[in-house]
Symmetry: C2
Subunit: 207 residues, 2 copies
Amino acid sequence: MDIFVPFDAHDPKSRLEPPLSAAERGSFAEAMLADVIDAIEATGHAPRVLSTAPMDLSVPVLVDERPLTKAVNGLFKLTEGPVAIVMADLPLITPEAIDRLVSTDGEVVIAPGVGGGTNALIVRDRAFHVDFHGCSFRDHRTIAERAELTVATVDSYSLACDIDEPADLAEVLLHSDGRASRWLERQGIVITESDVGRVTIERTTMD
Amino acid sequence: MDIFVPFDAHDPKSRLEPPLSAAERGSFAEAMLADVIDAIEATGHAPRVLSTAPMDLSVPVLVDERPLTKAVNGLFKLTEGPVAIVMADLPLITPEAIDRLVSTDGEVVIAPGVGGGTNALIVRDRAFHVDFHGCSFRDHRTIAERAELTVATVDSYSLACDIDEPADLAEVLLHSDGRASRWLERQGIVITESDVGRVTIERTTMD
């Protein structure tokens, strides 16, 4: 199956500044994208990047300058058969999680993200369309139900854990040894514990 | 398999105040515990509550007043054979996720929690001990490796999503229709969307 990975080539991951600078956000976003592409390739499925600007990658890049929702709905018109969408900011992703996503039955299959998002999606019927604005997990279920399509969800933390906020960087360091994790280590980003509550990160070196 | 669910009967879920009062935190914690017990019973495994105080429940309650780490390590001495520990604050839990946990091979099997925690655990070798202080996911892997035990992890968002902070309540409303979710609805807790970022909650009614 073709698995499309949308990528915002302009100003990605703005909520990660600080601790990252604008240039660093770009590098980190590309490292996460590479982790996602690596995991897809390990499954034998075909990664395709849906980018807002041309990129020099080893996999095919489809350029669509429009915002995410319009670009993905446009993709549904350009393609036939089942389509998979997997977000680019999922560096915890594993080939096993992708296999579980792709092998889940349902006309629409959703892997929810932390905070109401949609982090991965299989669409097997073009009566569905996406709307990534707002609480997209809930909205996508509603859209599918109105079109009388069967909806299934995938229970995966590696797919749920998108990297949007500084505390999320701790998850990358804890659960991945891929490119994004090694990139963070090189920037001196380390996990800090608190006596109560969840771990977060701090930056031990300054450029 | 016996599945033990530790429960703090004194002052549970303190980081949920506000929006919840102390009395409400207690009721909500019991609703979450009931969801976890229901899911375990649906798998055919035997739920056992490990509580800091006596409780009137339909399942056996083992009382140990000590902090979590000491109580769980004490449990390993009281029991024989594989032991499962599942936290009480996992209202998104499903029978399928518990089945996946229990059927995962490994002398130690860990379901990580958001922020470095350990939300569920299978221990098949008593050379292991727990330490829930700090970044317990990392610490538990280290403890297992030093004892030369095999460690496996379970990739489940329903097990990863413990309910500690107000924003976590949105996950309950989004992904569960169990007792904890219905309890929140009765208190007037609703999901609020923001233009950017993750959803959170607000309280629409006051007592």
